[in-house]
Symmetry: C2
Subunit: 204 residues, 2 copies
DNA sequence: GTCTATACGCTGATAGAC
DNA sequence: GTCTATCAGCGTATAGAC
């Protein structure tokens, strides 16, 4: 493993290449379905050389997950109690949709884990994510109580936003196959805006 | 492999046990992440004995998939052109939600495949599923043109129904962790009915 | 810092006794 | 029909030459 002190330019570059390649491979085949050899080849390194930079396959995965989780929840954190409720929610939906378009591999990496029971993510979900969800669910509830948006189960509202936006990344193959030439991300923003506007605009 | 002619009661029972166990294991770990040994143990058989009933791991998987695909699309096929449009769609949503509740493993098995690029499902998606989606998208479009339901992109409408309902099966771990004691399926039916009623009821 | 060679467990699958 | 024994190949990881 590289010395702690001074990461060479080459070391930085190789570590970055490995993580980039690992994102590609893990998001496509899942943890178990991915091999160190695949990642090494994709990163342009030999297998032993890759294992010089990371002690194990799991170590690569963990670092990748740590990076991902750091930014994954930013859009939700950005939901502003001071903002105009409906517009805040609609903006959140669009931000999440953009993330599905711009970072589909990250979405699939996460989806792979959750679908398989989140064996490596339980703590995060029950910890940081849970706290954040409780906080934002209360915010949504307060907006409903104030009559700013229609009443609905706050957590189900959040689940629906995650589900609808991440679907375009996670089920990308299916969506694109069924839509043919048409780019899903052309119509998706308007569809989701309409959906939540009709759902949440008071006195519907 | 068992003779073609006369499937013994034991043979039937064992084949069923294997498929049941395989559904459990494949839906939790994906194809690559599952081992024949796991399936055999879950079915109460030895590994060689299991391979007496099925020639290979892939054969088990294929049979499972064939069974799944046979029933998976029934709710969509049941969407009735003669029915009352809004109620037909709402009933479809509830049927899909029930399937997520009653057959979560089947949903996760399918999700696992799609998320990983559907290497074993391309033909089905581009074939039968695509035909069905085209047919039903046109049906939805005709309902919109007739003013029976609000206008929206028909395929995105279908995607959103799949996404929202299957989410409760595919992301079950996350949903249940975040909801604590509350059963997700208590509030989900009402949430989704409200969502699509507001979305689709004309002159909203 | 990077390579070749290799140890070693696990996995899918088969042979052959019972 | 079911078991024990076993094989070949793959996958992770390490040792040691360069």
């Amino acid at each position: 493993m590289p010395k702690d002190r001074s990461p060479t330019r080459i070391q930085k570059k190789n570590r970055a290449a490995i993580l980039e390649a690992a994102l590609d491979v893990f998001s496509t085949h899942g943890f178990r379905g991915s091999t160190v050899d695949q990642i090494a080849k994709a990163a342009g390194l030999s297998k032993p050389n890759l294992l010089y930079y990371f002690p194990s396959k799991e170590a690569i995965f963990n670092e990748l997950m740590a990076e991902l989780l750091g930014t994954w929840l930013d859009p939700l954190r950005a939901l502003d109690p001071e903002g105009e409720p409906l517009e805040e929610i609609l903006a959140y939906v669009q931000r999440k949709l953009q993330m599905s378009r711009d970072f589909p591999r990250e979405s699939r990496l996460y989806a792979n884990e959750i679908v398989q029971g989140a064996p490596r993510l339980h703590e995060v979900i029950a910890g940081d994510l849970s706290d954040l969800v409780e906080e934002k669910a209360q915010l949504l509830q307060s907006w409903m109580d104030a009559g700013k948006i229609n009443r609905a189960h706050p957590k189900h509202l959040l689940f629906s936003i995650w589900s609808l936006t991440q679907h375009y990344a996670d089920f990308d193959v299916q969506v694109r196959t069924l839509m043919g030439e048409e780019d899903p991300f052309d119509a998706a923003p308007e569809y989701l805006e309409t959906l939540y506007r009709r759902m949440l605009t008071p006195k519907g």
